[in-house]
Subunit: 137 residues, 2 copies
């Protein structure tokens, strides 16, 4: 598989962004880079910068989506880790060849043209892993 | 509080290091920097490099310690995120002043002279957070 370059972000699911910011921004001192509505994923996301990566606080805006169901089942906490790769299609092919269970067997096109796919926690020892291929700058 | 510099590592608890490496090393392609026995924490840790940080796969070597109990209760998965700070004593004082619940209210001296402390998930929205102050190089 093409080498993983770095971690892009760690996503934490929360039920209230402002409450969560009391710790992550006000107590821990991380800077909020931006807060965005993500209507196609029924969520609001606060992006906090740390080093060359981000912590994302994700709040579901619908009771029906996967994130809301996750919080209902497990409570707030870390949801996934996202790794950047150069060629996500090649990475997914290589993972398939190694019998890794994928949630998205083909790259999904997200906002700003990034391509992403999730790997099933069953194959990663309990961690939901996302891969990102960022568009060329 | 003194600013957080960067994430030092993400710890993932596993019940077999070799099994977990089938994904993290062999399929995802991360490089194993080293594997260490940590007798004072009854664990074995595989350190995998990614960007300027590490993923740590932690396997308990006793049925009695906190990590073994964590796996028994929740299964394998992400255990904590560790952030580097310049002055851990000042950071802990600042967190206490903001009524953040700490697991270690004073820094603990770890291997190689690093100083660490854990923040309780109750104050962080469900995430076990570790702070590190590394010794001067």
């Amino acid at each position: 598989m093409t080498p993983v370059k770095r971690i892009n972000h760690i996503a934490i699911v929360v039920d209230e962004i402002e409450d969560a910011l009391h710790f992550w921004r006000d107590a821990l001192g991380l800077k909020v880079a931006r807060v965005e509505e993500v209507p196609d994923q029924d969520s609001v996301v606060a992006f906090l910068s740390v080093g060359n990566m981000e912590i994302e606080l994700v709040k579901p805006t619908s009771d029906e989506n996967g994130i809301a169901r996750y919080i209902k089942k497990r409570g707030p906490g870390i949801h996934h880790i996202c790794f950047e790769v150069d060629d996500i299609k090649a990475s997914l092919e290589s993972l398939k060849a190694k019998s890794v269970r994928l949630i998205n067997s083909e790259p999904v096109i997200g906002t700003s043209g990034k391509r992403f796919a999730f790997i099933h926690p069953e194959s990663t020892y309990g961690v939901l892993v996302e891969l990102y291929e960022l568009p060329p700058k």
